[in-house]
Symmetry: C2
Subunit: 334 residues, 2 copies
């Protein structure tokens, strides 16, 4: 493979000049630059990634660890994140932790070992030693999907507590008092915990005891959502509304409701969270919390780029969520 030296010989300049042509062409005269780029084309030269990384002490690669690659909840935000990075000449490495904290720690170390200059993390929940590992190496990171003013870390996210509380209040406003919840595992998942806390807070505000909630906690999949919904429907009295921690559980719940011959929302209301494509596809359409995933992805990328450049991007950013009304939430049956 041709090297910088071959190009330099061909163009009759130094290797430093060739390097400048590729990396800061404004420092090279037009005539010289054209001659060099012609030599690059003629030889089919491409820089050696390892050599560049070693010499420049950076890889122009960022890493993102997401809980799962198999669903759209993270895909949209990540696509926007990657688009923004790409526009700034940065490549994205994506790893999935499968909601396993130990695996996430391994992934973080693996991404760093692979030369990631900076990282996108989901949620704040991870060991102090993991943060320490990154801080000691001077690797900047941004936490997305959450917003918590009490945590002093760079973040771009939304208030899961407030968003789920607002939706719960709408459910209560529809007259529902017998409520079920399908939540993701809350241990190690601050997003799930905060959403659940939001539900409890809304109930308390209405003089209702959160201990009366019928709670199913499970791992993330459509089938699990369906199964847990069935369990809730076996309770006596049967809940008239089921609040799901995400749209995937809600989709599973809707499927199972259909299987059980229950009409949504006449017999039971179902709500979700995130407003992914699924929410509009299922029958009936899901009433859910709309999260601006793409904007979150874009801003997270900008913040990480600023941090990597040594700039101070200011305090963490909070994005607003809204309730997307569709047909799956209706009045409580009388």
């Amino acid at each position: 493979m041709p090297t910088l030296e071959d190009v330099a010989a061909r163009a009759r300049v130094s290797t430093a000049t060739v390097s400048r042509c590729l990396n800061s062409p404004d420092q090279v005269s037009e005539r010289t630059r054209q001659r060099v780029m012609e030599a690059v084309r003629d030889l089919g030269y491409a820089p050696n990634f390892g050599a560049r990384a070693l010499a420049a002490k950076r890889t122009n690669t960022f890493g993102a660890i997401i809980p799962t690659m198999e669903n759209a909840i993270f895909a949209r935000g990540l696509q926007a994140f990657q688009d923004e990075l790409q526009a700034n000449g940065i490549t994205l490495l994506v790893a999935s932790s499968s909601y396993d904290p130990d695996r996430e720690e391994d992934q973080i170390r693996a991404l760093v070992a692979r030369g990631a200059d900076a990282l996108l993390l989901i949620g704040h929940d991870r060991t102090a030693q993991t943060y320490d590992f990154l801080d000691r190496r001077g690797i900047p990171y941004v936490v997305a999907w959450v917003h918590d003013n009490s945590v002093r870390r760079h973040s771009v996210g939304f208030d899961n507590f407030a968003a789920m509380k607002a939706l719960t209040e709408e459910v209560l406003a529809q007259g529902h008092r017998n409520i079920g919840v399908i939540t993701a595992e809350r241990s190690g998942n601050d997003r799930a915990r905060e959403r659940f806390r939001g539900i409890c807070s809304a109930l308390s505000d209405h003089g209702l005891d959160p201990a009366d909630l019928l709670i199913e906690e499970t791992t993330y999949s459509i089938d699990n959502g369906a199964e847990r919904f069935a369990r809730l429907m076996d309770q006596t009295p049967r809940p008239t509304a089921v609040l799901c921690g995400n749209d995937v559980f809600a989709a599973g719940a809707l499927m199972k409701a259909r299987d059980l011959g229950l009409r949504v929302p006449q017999d039971v209301s179902i709500t979700g969270f995130d407003d992914i494509d699924l929410a509009g596809i299922v029958t009936p359409g899901l009433t859910t919390v709309h999260v601006p995933h793409r904007e979150m992805g874009r801003r997270a990328a900008r913040r990480l780029l600023a941090l990597r450049a040594g700039d101070d991007p200011g305090p963490g950013e909070e994005l607003e969520t809204t309730i997307k009304w569709r047909q799956s939430l209706g009045p409580a049956p009388t």
Copy 2:
């Protein structure tokens, strides 16, 4: 940051011995190895990615270019692909081309520039110069999502033509003769072309003229599927079955059917392709072609690992597809 030299000094060995401890520990005695690994832990040493890449002439990174990150059609196969790579100490870089051939070429060059040792490509459709670029650099690649014996390239996929033809024959067996098609853009997309060819072949076998097909060709999204379905429903006579090139179009079609007050399959049958989660969630459930995405991902990874190691993994692999019967395909109205 501590380097190999620091570790060597601490453990009172040479840098080569430290390198051996990390990369081929069986060549180091137990006593020496333990002393070295203790020094690694004490110093918090992590190898420098760029230096390793330069010295070893490899990055242990593979690249995959997929048409879109925003939908599950590729996510499942890719997760399995990544899991297999990870088990072999390889990191995956993912880029999306947004179904744009020029963009795909840029992404291929960008992944190579980022040090990808090998690539996963989707479909065979790309310029000779792109393949040439990879061949000249000795970068192995595997093509997935297609199987074409006439093309001599390493591939793991399925026969799109045969799969869609089999589904079309079931549609014809149900008595449908007035058929609409919603297909992805066929230019630059051999998968879409092959699926369409399968539909035409089935019609011809039944003595029907493919020219009578009502064809809507569009870019990939649920909304586009919905819109094109509406156009097909405006035709006179109205098609009694709509064959969609993928489940995403089919989901959009189902939504629009609901909006138009058309009952599926009583008023019009709708079919998809891929059998992603969506297919089981929509109402009614989609009759579709089931593709073993995870197995394809796993095998593609194994083949690429073998190629990268300089082994000959044998001829391309074909995976079998099946028809997944759900409720969206029924008899033609009389």
